[in-house]
Amino acid sequence: MEVTMTHYLVLAALLFLTGMTGFIVRRNAIVMLMCVELMLAATNIVFAVFARAHADGGGHVFILMNFAIAAAEAAIGLAILVEIYRRRRTVNVDDLKALME
């Protein structure tokens, strides 16, 4: 079987949907952040595929930048989670109700 661009795009779409589904279904904040990372990985695949298809370096540069952004976002998110865990002993988003109406 020949592996074409479509296969990669379908793979990326599935990965993105997996992350999205996980984000919606799971209530553990750490797992939710991991699902977001999955979604970012999916976009990285799309960028890589199109960068190759268009023979354009821009897509590759974007992926590198995306790594840094994803790392920063995860770091901040986890730091906040640690802070919340210290005070609440939970990272379940359904238990965070200080700001409900």
Partner: protein, 161 residues
């Protein structure tokens, strides 16, 4: 091209490259499997409780290995990520640096931009250093004016409740 995206570009012909990867994977599995399998056939088998315990540098293992780790490991991992990502940017820069440096008017820009980038990162390192986040054993944070809110030590152990 089997897709209908209007890019008008070449197909991503990577089947050939993946064949190589596949061969690598297969050889890797075969190698490990072969080594373990042959050893299994040749060695004598005489298990006793001492032999079956987990090897922890000669110490007797205590408790399960499925414990929560101290949050300080996470902090260290965080600092690691900063410099890990730095390498991601440094590497492509290093690859093209030799070509770009001789270009008049460009060499200085290319060089100094990386210097600026690295010094910003170093400022980050200096920051965590001075704040004491690199110390394994950390002082409790001195809260100015005492603590009217829940006093939490700077590095409270995160253990199961």
């Amino acid at each position: 091209m089997t897709n209908n995206l209007p890019v008008g570009a070449v197909d991503v012909g990577v089947t050939g490259h993946f064949a190589t990867v596949l061969v690598f994977v297969l050889v890797g599995f075969a190698f490990a499997g072969l080594a373990l399998g042959v050893a299994k056939l040749l060695r004598p088998s005489a298990p006793n409780p001492n032999k079956l315990t987990t090897y922890e540098c000669g110490e007797l293992p205590r408790g399960s290995s499925w414990v929560r780790f101290n949050v300080r490991f996470y902090l260290i991992a965080l600092f690691f990520i900063v410099f890990d990502v730095e390498i991601i940017f440094l590497f492509p820069w290093a690859v093209v640096f030799k070509q770009l440096y001789p270009v008049p008017g460009l060499g200085a820009v290319v060089f100094w931009e990386m210097v600026i980038f690295l010094s910003i990162l170093s400022l980050g390192l200096a920051y965590v250093w001075v704040k004491g986040d690199l110390d394994w054993v950390k002082k409790l944070i001195e809260r100015p004016g005492g603590t009217d809110q829940a006093a939490v030590p700077a590095d409270e152990e995160v253990t199961a409740p």
